[in-house]
Amino acid sequence: MKKSRSVRLVLLGSAGVALAACDDGGALPANAQFYPTVNECIAERGVAQCEDAKAVADRTRATEAPRFSRREECEQEFGVGNCETRQTAGGSFFFPLMMGYMMGNMMNGGRYAQPVYRGPNNTAVMPAGGRLLNVGRFDNLGAGRAAFRPAPQITTVSRGGFGGTAANYRTVGG
């Protein structure tokens, strides 16, 4: 037989609707902000948005947070003093210390939220696309919003450096 045994689609057609919401889970929107507590988020963004975002972040934390059976393993990755122990259904584990939330709006209109942990050398790290993304640092072991220093923003991203030739032609692919 020379035809595919099965052809399944996960994004296109009727499959697409259900999964679109899960898409881009790891993207950090340009408008994302750090909030140590949900109340500080509410003050700026309103209850609905922040409660939603907190639920998303807490779920991520509960299901995807890095977990270690020994404190040393956790501290090796996140730094000394940056791990806490927590009881889970599967037993007691060490987790990175949660410092707050990164919250924002996605380009597609969805909510964006991730837990932010303290990493080595007081860095602020966040899960993104299966990796830990460095999003800034904390001053002097401080924990509040005033202590958070975001990673240098990308100040100049120029755009429009591709695509000009297509305007001269009616079709692109062949």
Binding site: K3, S4, L9, L11, S14, A30, G160, Y169, V172, G174
Partner: protein, 376 residues
């Protein structure tokens, strides 16, 4: 090979739109997906097409090797801009993987398939071939076979790129329905290969001085672009792609094969090969009827058929600035006034299936219709 008239499924429009997400079945008001007909091939014919495709792909890869080895002189004959030479050689030497390509073959079953051209960089008509015609056969006569494992091969190919830890950005020209449909389908297959994906319009790609950025300012580490390399390298950010700021699919070495001057170099490398047509970079080397094609062109634009000095057929378009290749004319097979071209797909350089497009003139244009096939 036969062309059969068949009855379309009563609800095909709603079905392909709703269940498959196939949005461009009608283009500019004209039918593009056409299931009022289909082609029936024999198993022997399919084997012949598959073998020819496999052999042509090996020759094409051999040509890339030869061009990279020869360097300057070969690149100049291919009209590849100097700025790209180093990146092409580097991508070839580091064995950068490729995903796909489509060879257009003239074939009617009474002689070897002949390569008309090779769309090695930005081939389209992929979703129609991989999914829509497969779905059509499953719905109408599932017991029959089709030369089409494109979907499975794509998913498998994605797993071999070694990019599991990275995100792949899929880019096409904004507002181009067909191209966006194609990248959305490719993104679907990459997702099934458990890769993390994102989409961006080619016009929205950002550059921060060190890396490419998407609209969320995330870095673009791997870029699948449905946009010709020869355009990218001439545009403002082209130098950054060439200096390796992102891994690009298709890889830079596809520039050797994506221009039609390669047809002349293939003929030079393997003269009289049964699957090649005589082709030259200079006029006057082919006797009788000759087809003049721009070195860089798409969708059958700016093609001229010349019979002993007289233009007998011609298409318009905006291509041709880089010069032309002159290919011996082959009488295109005709079935009830329709001229089919067989688009034979290679996925990760393996022959994977075909999609047939037909037109009412011997030159296949972007107005052609996609007609499904089966074999027995």
């Amino acid at each position: 090979m036969q062309r059969l008239s068949v009855t379309p499924r009563a609800d095909w429009r709603a079905h392909v739109e709703g269940d498959l997400g196939f949005a461009f079945h009608t283009i500019d008001g004209a039918l593009y997906w056409d299931e009022t007909a289909c082609y029936r091939l024999t198993a022997a014919e399919v084997d012949e097409i598959e073998d020819a495709t496999q052999e042509l792909e090996q020759m094409a890869l051999g040509l890339v090797d030869r061009v990279v080895d020869t360097g300057e002189q070969a690149f100049e004959r291919l009209r590849i801009p100097r700025v790209a030479w180093e990146a092409i050689a580097a991508s070839w030497h580091s064995k950068e993987r490729n995903l796909y390509g489509r060879m257009d073959l003239a074939y009617r079953g009474d002689g070897p398939p002949k390569l008309l051209e090779y769309n090695a960089d930005t081939p389209t008509a992929l979703f129609e071939a991989a999914v829509v015609q497969w779905d059509w056969l499953q719905a109408t006569s599932p017991e029959r076979d089709q030369f089409n494992s494109i979907h499975e091969r794509l998913i498998e190919a994605w797993t071999k790129f070694g990019i599991r830890a990275k995100r792949v950005h899929f880019a096409a020209v904004r507002d181009h329905a067909e191209d966006n449909g194609t990248i959305e389908y490719l993104r679907d297959t990459a997702t099934q290969a458990r890769l993390e994906t994102a989409r961006i319009a080619i016009e929205d790609i950002g550059w921060d001085g060190q890396t490419f950025r998407d609209l969320d300012n995330l870095t673009i580490d791997v870029l699948f672009k449905l946009y010709p390399w020869e355009w990218l390298v001439r545009e403002e950010f082209g130098q950054h792609l060439l200096s390796g700021a992102a891994q690009v699919i298709e890889p830079a070495w596809k520039m050797v094969l994506s221009n039609k001057a390669a047809l002349a170099l293939l003929w030079e490398m393997a003269p009289d090969h049964p699957n090649l047509l005589p082709a030259f970079l200079e006029p006057g080397r082919v006797g009788g009827k000759v087809v003049r094609k721009p070195i860089y062109s798409r969708e059958g634009a700016n093609i001229q058929v010349v019979d002993t000095g007289r233009v007998v057929a011609e298409t318009d378009g905006g291509y041709g600035a880089e010069g032309f290749v002159y290919q011996a004319h082959v009488e295109m097979p005709a079935f009830d006034g329709n001229y089919p071209v067989i688009g034979s797909w290679v996925i990760a350089s393996q022959a994977a299936g075909i999609g047939i497009r037909e037109d009412t003139t011997p030159i296949t244009r972007d107005t052609s219709r996609f007609v499904p096939h089966f074999f027995e």
